[in-house]
């Protein structure tokens, strides 16, 4: 091919690609989507670097998805004047995250650990997959990967279609309704509008989700399916081992002058009923708090948070997240969380 024709092909390609990108971005924006961040190991690693801030300046949060929705970071930061470092990971147990911080001698700060029993007390491989990947990525991140992430964040802050879990080729192709063979398990997809994430790793449900009853049903359908898992809850020696492991890691942080507190964020409806049946509060939450000699803030023990309702049974809507955060700050203040002294360990509730 002549140089001229090759150049013409290149220009045609460039025009088509540019047209597509503009059209694709415009299409999703017209559907109500905005630019959000990929809630992945890269963003997690970026925040993990912030965990070393002093006790006076920041509190680190670990847990599963609930604390990501329920802690309203702007509210937290405006009331406390402290940074909230959100290190919770969706769909994982925080135990590996706790272990990572416990074994990191440079971490001497304040840590709030959210407990979602169905994930916290599970050792199923998928429960630790994301946390293992994120921790591994953080510790092995190359200079090139760090620089790439900065370019990536800059692009994600401007372009809606760069949200991988919603708009990537894999996510889009997974939406094709094709029947699977009997015995093949495929984790159900959440509705595209369900969870949005900011640069601070604050996750929230947007209005286009909250006003869409079909989308809400889509999420409750996933919880109902997961809730039908017949695997019995961990018990006996295995449960004691978990308590021991958690206590060992909490003690490591405390021995360096750090503070740790446990929280249980709200759940509602059939999901909450299922959790209460499978993981009774007295046997799991109360025992965990007592064994680890920690303070615990359970949403049911606070008259305000007790009545909060999760629209899709498991996470709070943004306005309720503000209420929950205000209550959390108040309870933590009572425990001396924001003073330089140790947290008192004489009560189990707030």
């Amino acid at each position: 091919m002549q140089t001229k024709n090759l150049l013409k092909a290149g220009i045609l390609g460039l025009v088509l690609v540019t047209t597509f990108i503009l059209g694709w971005e415009g299409y999703w924006r017209s559907k109500g989507y905005v630019a959000t961040y990929n809630d992945d190991k890269v963003l997690w690693a970026n925040k993990r670097h912030e965990a070393y801030q002093s006790k006076e300046k920041a509190t680190v949060f670990i847990g599963s998805s609930r604390i990501k929705f329920d802690l309203d970071i702007p509210t937290w930061e405006s009331i406390t004047g402290e940074k909230a470092v959100q290190l919770a990971l969706v769909g994982t147990s925080p135990r590996l995250l706790l272990e990572d911080l416990a074994n990191d001698k440079n971490f001497k700060g304040k840590l709030v650990m959210d407990v979602t029993e169905v994930l916290f007390f599970s050792d199923a491989p998928f429960v630790n997959k994301s946390s293992r990947e994120a921790i591994g990525f953080y510790h092995k991140q190359t200079p090139s990967e760090k620089l790439s992430s900065l370019v990536d964040f800059a692009l994600e802050s401007k372009l809606t279609f760069l949200e991988e879990s919603r708009f990537s080729l894999t996510s889009l192709s997974n939406e094709i309704p094709i029947q699977n063979r009997p015995g093949v398990f495929v984790f159900p997809s959440f509705p595209k509008s369900f969870s949005w994430t900011t640069y601070d790793r604050q996750t929230y449900m947007p209005d286009i989700f909250l006003s869409d009853t079909n989308a809400i049903k889509g999420v409750t359908g996933v919880w109902a399916m997961l809730g039908s898992d017949p695997t019995p809850a961990v018990d006996g020696n295995a449960l004691t081992q978990i308590f021991k492991e958690v206590k060992t890691n909490i003690d490591k942080i405390r021995s360096r002058g750090g503070k740790v507190i446990l929280v249980r964020t709200p759940s509602s409806g059939p999901f909450a009923m299922g959790e209460a049946m499978k993981y009774p509060k007295e046997k799991y939450w109360n025992q965990l708090v007592a064994y680890t000699q920690s303070e615990g803030l359970h949403y049911q023990d606070n008259p305000v948070t007790k009545v909060l309702t999760c629209p899709e049974w498991s996470h709070l809507a943004p306005k309720d997240a503000v209420t929950y955060t205000e209550q959390l700050v108040q309870s933590l203040e009572q425990k001396g969380w924001f003073s330089t002294d140790e947290v008192t360990h004489n009560t189990l509730t707030n």
Partner: protein, 498 residues
């Protein structure tokens, strides 16, 4: 630094700008050298020291080898270079493997020895740049080419970032002469290079990582036996993934070098169209095959020392080729399988040659009508089937795919479990892959084989020359759009670990 990263895009734009500015050629070469070190250091900065060590030792030892006439001193210098290069490779790549095998052996002998894990990190691309520098010192020892006069040119030859971490493995005479006079990409080279870069990234990010890595990983990490359909789909997915991943990297490397005005050797030529196993190795990772042929197989004696020795040399070459890919016995078995394939092919070829030599004796028989009787025993359909190039291609692809099972499996237990599943030797195998994955793997495998078959005598460069510019523009756009849509569902190149 990975080609499929935002860092590389920024890095490459800066390099293109610097390379197109009106600096002296020496300054441009220094720019490229510094850029190459940055490219490497962006992965793990301390390992740049290894590159410097390897470069310096081989530059001076190479020159001394060429100028030295004393045989003993020459051998000593060669040994120094070999110890330096292979010693470094052995420590970083095979240290853990050797220790593991030693521990297994002494424990089998009754000693209770359990050392701590040495935790050696493998420097990216060490196998590639070690082979690059090794061939230089061996050439100097044999006095087959002139030593490189400038350490700048030699450093750039070893470190030139497009080929540094995963090839193509370049020879001094392929690259060093290109550094001797100013090089700047023509407009044609620049656009062509950008097309190849897009094609390579499309192969890696879209085909290998987005479409094929998932089903391959799911099947190769399954803990239970599978239904034959699932096992085959996983293995076929890996056959496609490894090709798109590695050929994608080579295509990117060639394209990037072309954008700067340099030419790197071709590394893949539609390998799944191979009509034989030796043909496969003339098409797959061509620069490694040529390296192993020139610096291992031929020095071992090649086919010059009799039939038995030829088979031994073939097996040794492929066993070491397998070990070069990874410090694990599964890679050795992969190499051994290819060695057996090559030996079997050679043996059959020898028998056929003998038969053909005897053919004149049959000519009178044909005249007497005896050929008809022979033909009735071996139907012509059957004879044609096995001489049909397409059937040969499928035959080779089948055996190459079987060998990939050992290449990808973490251990022999996984490999045996998968092979048993593939050939229906298990009861109650599980269905694992979603229907969408089965469709993706099937469509891509058929398209891959079809493309390789149609392009077997051609090249991408030929195709670009023939194709209408509008069609090329549309194809290019589709590739880039799919690349954009694939987003971050991409990972390191598989061959980085080698």
């Amino acid at each position: 630094m990975l080609f499929n990263s935002y860092t590389f895009i920024v890095f490459f734009i800066v390099i293109l700008i610097l390379h197109s500015m009106r600096f002296a050629w020496k300054v441009k070469k220094i720019n490229l050298l510094i850029a190459s070190y940055i490219f490497y250091a962006a992965w793990n900065p301390p390992f740049v020291l290894l590159l410097w060590l390897s470069t310096t030792v081989d530059f001076f030892v190479g020159r001394a080898l060429y100028n030295e006439d004393n045989k003993r001193k020459r051998k000593l210098l060669l040994v120094i270079s070999l110890i330096g290069n292979l010693g470094m490779l052995s420590f970083f790549k095979y240290g853990g493997f050797i220790l593991d095998n030693f521990v297994t052996m002494v424990n089998a002998l009754g000693f209770n020895y359990h050392p701590a894990n040495p935790g050696i990190i493998l420097p990216a691309g060490i196998s590639f740049y070690t082979f690059t520098t090794l061939c230089y010192t061996i050439d100097m020892y044999k006095k087959e080419s002139q030593p490189v006069k400038s350490i700048l040119d030699f450093s750039l030859f070893v470190t030139f970032f497009p080929h540094l971490v995963a090839g193509p493995i370049v020879r001094p005479n392929q690259l060093v002469p290109q550094f001797q006079s100013p090089k700047k990409a023509t407009r044609h080279q620049l656009v062509n290079g950008l097309f190849l870069l897009s094609l390579g990234l499309f192969m890696k990010v879209v085909m290998a990582d987005t479409f094929l890595a998932g089903p391959a990983d799911t099947v190769f990490t399954a803990q239970n036996s599978l239904l034959p359909l699932d096992a085959w789909m996983g293995v076929l997915a890996f056959s496609g993934q490894i090709f798109f991943d590695f050929a994608g990297y080579s295509t990117c490397a060639i394209g990037v070098a072309m954008c700067l005005g340099f030419t790197l050797p071709q590394n893949f030529r539609f390998p799944y169209a191979a009509s034989g196993f030796s043909d496969f190795w003339r098409r797959w990772h061509m620069t490694l095959s040529a390296w192993l042929r020139d610096y291992l197989y031929i020095p071992l004696g090649g086919n010059r020392k009799g039939s038995v020795r030829t088979y031994v040399n073939l097996m040794l070459t492929m066993l070491l080729g397998g070990l070069w890919h990874g410090a694990s016995w599964t890679f050795v078995v992969w190499g051994a399988l290819h060695g057996i394939y090559l030996c079997a092919e050679r043996w059959i070829q020898q028998i056929r040659n003998k038969t053909q030599l005897q053919t004149p004796h049959y000519i009178p028989a044909v005249a007497e009508g005896k050929q008809a009787a022979r033909a009735s025993m071996v139907p012509s359909f059957f004879t044609n089937l096995f001489t049909n190039q397409f059937v040969k291609m499928l035959f080779v692809f089948f055996f190459v795919t079987i060998a990939w099972v050992f290449f990808r499996s973490a251990d022999f237990a996984t490999a045996w479990r998968l092979l048993s599943s593939m050939f229906g030797r298990v009861n109650n195998g599980a269905a694992l892959l979603p229907t969408l994955d089965i469709i993706k793997v099937s469509v891509i495998t058929v398209a891959l084989l079809g493309t390789h078959w149609l392009m077997r005598q051609s090249s991408v460069a030929d195709l670009i020359k023939k194709i209408n510019w509008k069609l090329l523009g549309i194809v290019w756009a589709v590739m880039v759009i799919l690349l954009v849509l694939s987003q971050k569902s991409s990972d390191s190149f598989i061959y980085f670990q080698f």
